[in-house]
């Protein structure tokens, strides 16, 4: 017997005081008034038609027709070099080795001294019908290029990792703003209440810079906070009951708690928060089994696992995370965020000390898994209403730092999106002939975030939360939807 079934059936026993009945009857009574208060205080309720529910994470209709229902964000922490990956620069081949030292137009903004122009150590090939050039770092992603809309003209406001991360992921270079996934779940709720709405998986070797502030709900209620799935042990903290407690016995315990809580609620019928809290016991109980099941990949076929590269040591870890991402969105999780890279120096894409060793290693880890994810989403019919974002905090310089490294470049870098509503095979925007600055269609990170919200049916201008004297937005007071990448 399925555990959740067991849970339900026991609940309909004779001494079960029907909270549901209490809530159903609430329309006219005192509870209903309190419920109205609760909904009235939900600032979103004013702009978005929402399901009547005590649960702030209940699914909500988008503001406008949506192209996708869910998002998988893949973030390359450290600064993926656009000119070595998705933005081929012939001019760098021509001018390879030309010194730019002391030339004021090349500025690392107080970082390392510019050395000489350096061509990409990787060769580029055209892929797909679109013939977009992709480097040998990403042959598998290259093979998906016709499903991808590539933006080669991203611009960041910061040339330092953590502020740039916050900028890309929360819309502000300073900590203290809600993450992209928090805004999305605030706007849309989530489909499966038994799993977290917004799941984050970080690189198991080290945490991404800036830590939880990248997915914190900040001033939004903490229901919308990203839940970090642990890289070792249980995916969610405290997910597992004590080892000596059988599910049946735990259900009895919960049932006992509920009975006592119901007794107390009867003398406090207007307290909707308490009623809502009683409901969380059912959710928590089911989350134990569902979240555990969601991360159990033992039933995935060998073919699926190797599609994600789980059969090779270098792609095993990220492959598993990509596979988990698919399993989670498949089960109704609204937003999944994966991080490639953490910690410092070569633990992430921060290739100051040499491009080849650093980017070869990290690209090898993600190329097959990400491509596998796209293929798997397609073969399962999920691709049409899922959005995959492949982003990073900034690009890297066309000239050397030291002898073979590259420093941070916020003036121009590349990101791509794929999935429902996305015009696959597009290349939009361009950097200049050496990839130092954007040459056409510059897009600050707010534009990418506005586009993500747009695809989800959320207007970035209207998705607001009143805080600190004004209506806050993910895109602050900026942001334009990048129409050119939309199908």
């Amino acid at each position: 017997m399925d555990l959740s079934e067991l849970f339900k059936s026991k609940h309909n026993g004779p001494d079960y005081i029907s909270r549901k009945r209490f809530l159903q009857n609430a329309g006219g009574g005192i509870g209903g008034l309190a419920l109205a208060t609760l909904l009235g205080s939900d600032s979103l309720a004013a702009t978005t038609p929402s399901h009547s529910s005590l649960n702030p994470l209940a699914p909500k209709s988008p503001m406008m027709p949506a192209k996708v229902k869910r998002v998988i964000s893949i973030f390359c922490f450290g600064g993926l070099s656009h000119i070595d990956a998705f933005d081929y620069k012939h001019e760098l081949v021509v001018k390879d080795g030309v010194s730019v030292a002391g030339r004021p137009e090349f500025d690392t903004m107080g970082r390392s001294a510019p050395g000489r122009l350096m061509k990409s150590p990787w060769s580029f090939k055209p892929y797909g019908q679109s013939g977009t050039l992709v480097s040998d770092l990403f042959p598998n992603i290259g093979n998906c290029i016709d499903d991808i809309a590539l933006i080669r003209s991203m611009v960041s406001d910061s040339n330092n990792h953590v502020p740039a991360l916050y900028h890309m992921l929360t819309g502000s270079i300073l900590a203290g703003r809600p993450g992209l996934g928090s805004w999305v779940t605030y706007g849309l709720g989530t489909e499966n209440q038994n799993l977290p709405a917004f799941v984050v998986m970080t690189d198991p070797r080290a945490l991404v810079g800036g830590g939880a502030a990248n997915w914190n709900s900040a001033f939004l209620p903490s229901n919308f906070q990203g839940v970090q799935f642990r890289s070792g042990g249980l995916p969610v903290l405290n997910l597992k009951p004590p080892s000596d407690l059988t599910p049946e016995r735990q259900r009895e315990n919960i049932h006992f708690i509920e009975k006592l809580n119901d007794e107390f609620l009867r003398s406090h019928p207007a307290e909707q928060d308490m009623a809502a809290r009683i409901q969380t016991y059912e959710l928590a109980f089911r989350m134990q089994s569902e979240a555990t099941e969601a991360v159990d990949i033992s039933r995935e076929s060998t073919a699926t696992k190797s599609l994600y590269g789980m059969d090779r040591p270098e792609t095993e870890v990220f492959g598993k995370q990509c596979l988990l991402a698919r399993r989670l969105v498949e089960r109704g999780v609204r937003f999944v965020q994966l991080y490639s890279g953490g910690g410092v120096f070569d633990q992430n894409w921060d290739a100051h000390n040499g491009m080849v060793a650093n980017h070869s290693m990290h690209a090898k880890e993600v190329d097959q898994p990400v491509a596998g994810l796209i293929r798997d989403l397609k073969q399962r019919g999920l691709f049409e209403d899922t959005l995959v974002i492949f982003h990073t905090e900034f690009g890297r310089m066309p000239f050397t730092e030291g002898s073979t490294g590259r420093d941070h470049n916020p003036h121009a870098f590349s990101c791509w999106i794929a999935g429902g509503g996305v015009k696959g095979g597009t290349v939009h925007g361009a950097s200049d002939e050496i990839g130092y600055k954007v040459a056409s269609d510059p897009h600050p990170v707010h534009d990418l975030n506005a586009t993500v919200l747009h695809l989800l049916g959320l207007d970035h201008l209207k998705l607001t939360y009143f805080y600190n004297g004004r209506n806050m937005r993910l895109t602050d007071v900026y942001g334009n939807v990048i129409q050119q990448v939309l199908a």
């Binding site: 008034l33 309190a34 109205a36 600032s43 004013a46 702009t47 611009v155 406001d157 330092n160 953590v162 270079i173 300073l174 900590a175 209440q193 977290p196 198991p204 945490l207 810079g209 800036g210 830590g211 939880a212 502030a213 939004l220 903490s222 229901n223 839940v227 970090q228 890289s231 903290l237 405290n238 997910l239 597992k240 009895e252 315990n253 919960i254 006992f256 708690i257 006592l260 809580n261 107390f264 609620l265 406090h268 307290e271 928060d273 308490m274 809502a276 809290r277 134990q288 003036h411 600055k437 954007v438 040459a439 056409s440 600050p444 209207k462 607001t464 600190n468 004297g469 209506n471 007071v477």
Partner: protein, 812 residues
């Protein structure tokens, strides 16, 4: 094309630093203001705060709407579409699209057409106004669109209620036995006006529990409740309140509220999230200040300028730790812009926590709503720019004399050794020099000596080092002071960009506030500091400042009633909410200042009031009229904060370690979590033991790893000032209460306590558990259910259930 991109990037960089700034055309600014004014439906006086009798209908009804909704773009700070709505004449002259209105005819008036949605675009751009406001404007136009006597200029904004110095209002003379304190008069007056009635008094048990949680954040023991229930003297209640206010637990509870406001943490945030190993001294300073009921004005002065008030007093120096609490990106290049961000953080926190003003909005341009000029911002910036963090010794006089004594002894003993050691060292040094070695280590020095000398050198050196190690260390503290007595001239940053200096500004205050237009002269400089913060503190923490006392008493009120009289505790500006009881707020503020800025009497006044002593029972009619309980027709039921939940749990289980003060403690966290932190070095491994079962205020606040037991119950990620915590209900909280090993352990210890206290008898155990946890006996059915449950379940399981109950997490 490259140039274009460059310009664009520059443009974006400017914007990045204006992260908190309101931009004129932001289309969504207004849409969510809608719920803020609904109290006007309940309270006809609404805005007419100071002197209802003399205020014109325009001033009371229309002006606030125009100010809040329209004048930001069409008047005070700009004339978008060439429209200026500040006077009837300019409004009739109209803008690009013609006259704003036709007096007497709302239907044909542009203003009405735009706000009602008859004509596009919708105004205000962020969303339609509440129906009541549209109706008010319609009525105003229909009755001739006459303006009031006051001319609306930027200067006129000074009449915004919170910018006027509070005067003691008359207490409404109500004849009602319900009125026990002046607070009750003000509350009852409003309730009567809205045809609402009060709720019966809470039971003595509920009262004393409520007082314990409010004041010390811990439940009373059953004996304390019984004693109070049995003490029928009229002074019994006052005694309970006094006892709680005198408890050291009070400071631990109330310091935490202040730490939220000043965004206290034990680490610096950003990439490395470096530990601040001495930050706790400031936390202890706050605890002690609350416990000693330090006058609030002095408390503020010490935090802003303790080094200037009492440069040799450790307490005052530690207080300045406040100025260094902000996040610090150690990886960031220390550029002009970086420093500007740091100073902005100090200005934002200081002004929102003390004045309830969003001064940071004026970093790039004049504030769009409040009368705060961009120059005001840089006048304030000039005060904080000279500051710098410093680690210093803070010995007390006693420590100094003890140290001098001990050092003299050590010096004496060392001198004998040094007599032999010094010649050896000299010899080694000269040998080393001939070998061309500079800055030799001790080992290198030893290596050039011959065998017996080498041994002697090493032995003596070790002895000296051992003796030096016994020299008494002075306690250290992280403080903030100025870099010197002078500082380069401050220049306004054009559009908020530190790289684009504009006109010079003199250090000073916010000009539109009373006494705020004074420049700080250079003559105030001290020997080592500029003296500017001292001047600022004198102005900020003074009776003449209309905001400081109001903002603080409102924070205290909010903590007792779950909502503030001004329900935006850190925003008393035009975009904040209006006070529900403006006269009461002023009464409390003035009395607070009259009483020497003491917070404890304020608590007592509140706790002695009938309004605070009401039951939390909800009456259907009142719920219908005032669903949010803005007028306080009952006491709201409140969820305990994260710290109070954990502390109460430890108290009930009999394991709370009440040791005070000192470096933070690290209760164990799930190993995976520790591993997942940046660079994996954040949280030391440790056991769950009595040393970690301290009150939650002593738990390490690591910005990148908030202790999960607190995090899950909305303990904030502490980057910015937190005016009011969120209260959420999530299944993750429930998973924690069900499965967390620390909580399971507490349940076991609770069970052991019960067993010790009442043996194995099931009824006795249930009765005792309810008594300890809830200060009441179980009901008949609770007892029956519990005893039956204990037939098949362990006592620890039963205890865990008790800790899971709503009654444990909510204050009635």
């Amino acid at each position: 094309m490259i140039n274009n991109a460059d310009n664009h990037l520059k443009h974006m960089s400017l914007h990045a630093r204006r992260y908190k700034i309101l931009v004129l055309m932001s289309v969504s600014l207004v849409s969510l203001c809608a719920p803020l004014l609904t109290i006007a439906n309940i309270s006809p006086k609404g805005q007419s705060h100071s002197n209802p009798g003399t205020v014109s209908p325009f001033d009371s009804k229309v002006l606030p709407i125009l100010q809040q909704r329209c004048l930001g773009c069409h008047g005070v700070d700009g004339h978008l579409a060439n429209l200026d709505l500040r006077t009837k004449a300019t409004a009739l002259k109209g803008g690009t699209h013609g006259a704003a209105f036709k007096p007497g005819n709302s239907k044909d008036s542009l203003l009405y057409q735009l706000i009602s949605g008859v004509r596009a675009p919708q105004m205000p751009p962020g969303g339609k106004l509440p129906a009541a406001e549209i109706a008010a404007l319609k009525q105003w136009i229909d009755s001739g669109a006459n303006y009031g006597p006051t001319q609306i200029t930027t200067a006129a904004k000074q009449t915004w209620w919170s910018f006027k110095v509070p005067v003691l209002p008359k207490v409404p003379g109500l004849k009602s036995s319900w009125v026990k304190t002046p607070i009750d008069s003000f509350i009852l007056d409003k309730l009567t006006e809205s045809h609402l009635s009060t709720t019966k008094p809470a039971s003595r048990r509920v009262l004393i529990r409520r007082a314990y949680f409010d004041l010390i954040g811990l439940p009373p023991s059953p004996a304390e409740v019984t004693a109070f229930e049995e003490d029928r003297s009229p002074k019994a209640w006052g005694k309970v309140v006094d006892r709680l206010l005198a408890s050291p637990r009070y400071g631990e509870r109330w310091a935490r509220h202040w730490l939220d406001v000043v965004r206290y943490a034990d680490s610096g945030g950003f990439e490395g999230d470096k530990d601040r190993l001495l930050a706790w001294r400031y936390r202890d300073y706050v605890i002690d200040s609350f416990n000693s009921d330090k006058p609030f004005d002095l408390f503020l002065k010490e935090q802003i300028a303790g080094d200037e008030y009492r440069p040799h007093d450790p307490e005052a120096l530690v207080a300045t730790g406040y100025l260094g609490l902000g996040c610090e990106d150690l990886a960031q290049v220390k550029s002009k812009r970086f420093r500007a961000d740091e100073v902005d953080d100090i200005i934002a926190t200081t002004c929102s926590s003390i004045f309830g003003l969003t001064v940071m909005c004026a970093r790039c341009h004049d504030h769009k709503y409040d009368p705060i000029k961009q120059t005001d911002y840089y006048r304030l910036a000039a005060i904080f720019y000279p500051t710098i963090r410093k680690e210093i010794d803070i010995p007390s006089d006693e420590q100094k004399s003890v140290a001098a004594e001990q050092n003299a002894l050590i010096d004496k003993r060392e001198s004998a050794i040094l007599e032999i050691f010094q010649p050896l060292k000299q010899k080694a040094l000269s040998l080393v020099k001939t070998m061309g070695m500079s800055n030799p280590t001790d080992d290198q020095l030893a290596s050039v000596l011959n065998e017996p000398e080498r041994k002697q050198f090493k032995d003596l050196n070790a002895q000296i080092k051992a003796m030096d190690a016994t020299r008494p260390p002075y306690p250290k503290a992280m403080v903030v002071t100025d870099v010197g007595s002078t500082f380069p001239e401050m220049k306004l940053h054009i559009r908020g960009d530190a790289e684009h200096p504009g006109a010079p500004v003199k250090p000073g205050f916010i000009c539109s506030l009373p006494g705020g237009d004074r420049d700080i002269p250079e003559s105030v400089a001290r020997t080592e500091t500029t003296g500017r913060r001292h001047e600022f503190a004198e102005w900020a923490a003074s009776r003449k400042n209309p905001l400081t006392a109001r903002v603080w008493v409102n924070r205290v009120w909010r903590q007792h009633f779950g909502r503030g009289l001004v329900n935006t505790p850190s925003n008393f500006g035009i975009n904040g909410e209006l006070p529900t009881h403006p006269e009461l707020l002023d009464y409390l503020a003035v009395k607070f200042m009259d009483g020497g800025w003491k917070t404890k009497p304020l608590h007592k006044l509140i706790l002695m009031s009938s309004v605070w002593q009401q039951s939390s029972e909800a009456q259907e009619t009142s719920l219908r009229t005032d669903p949010q309980n803005k007028l306080l027709w009952r006491m709201p039921v409140r969820r305990l904060e994260a710290e109070a939940i954990r502390d109460s749990m430890l108290a009930v289980c009999g394991t709370l370690n009440l040791e005070m003060h000192g470096p933070p403690v690290y209760p164990p966290v799930d190993p995976s979590l520790r591993f997942d932190t940046f660079q994996g070095v954040n949280w030391p491994v440790g056991d769950d033991n009595p040393q970690t079962r301290r009150r939650s205020i002593y738990i390490k606040i690591k910005r990148s790893l908030i202790f999960p037991g607190l995090d899950v119950f909305d303990c904030p990620e502490i980057t910015n000032s937190v005016a009011a915590r969120n209260v959420t209900t999530t299944p993750l909280q429930t998973l924690m209460l069900l499965n967390d090993p620390l909580i399971l352990k507490q349940a076991t210890l609770f069970a052991e306590r019960l067993e010790r206290e009442c043996g194995a008898d099931k009824s006795a155990i249930v009765n005792r558990a309810y008594s300890i946890a809830f200060d009441r006996p179980p009901t008949k059915s609770e007892l029956a259910m519990s005893v039956q449950y204990l037939n098949t379940h362990t006592r620890a399981e039963f205890c865990q259930a008790i800790l899971n109950l709503n009654e444990f997490l909510y204050i009635e």
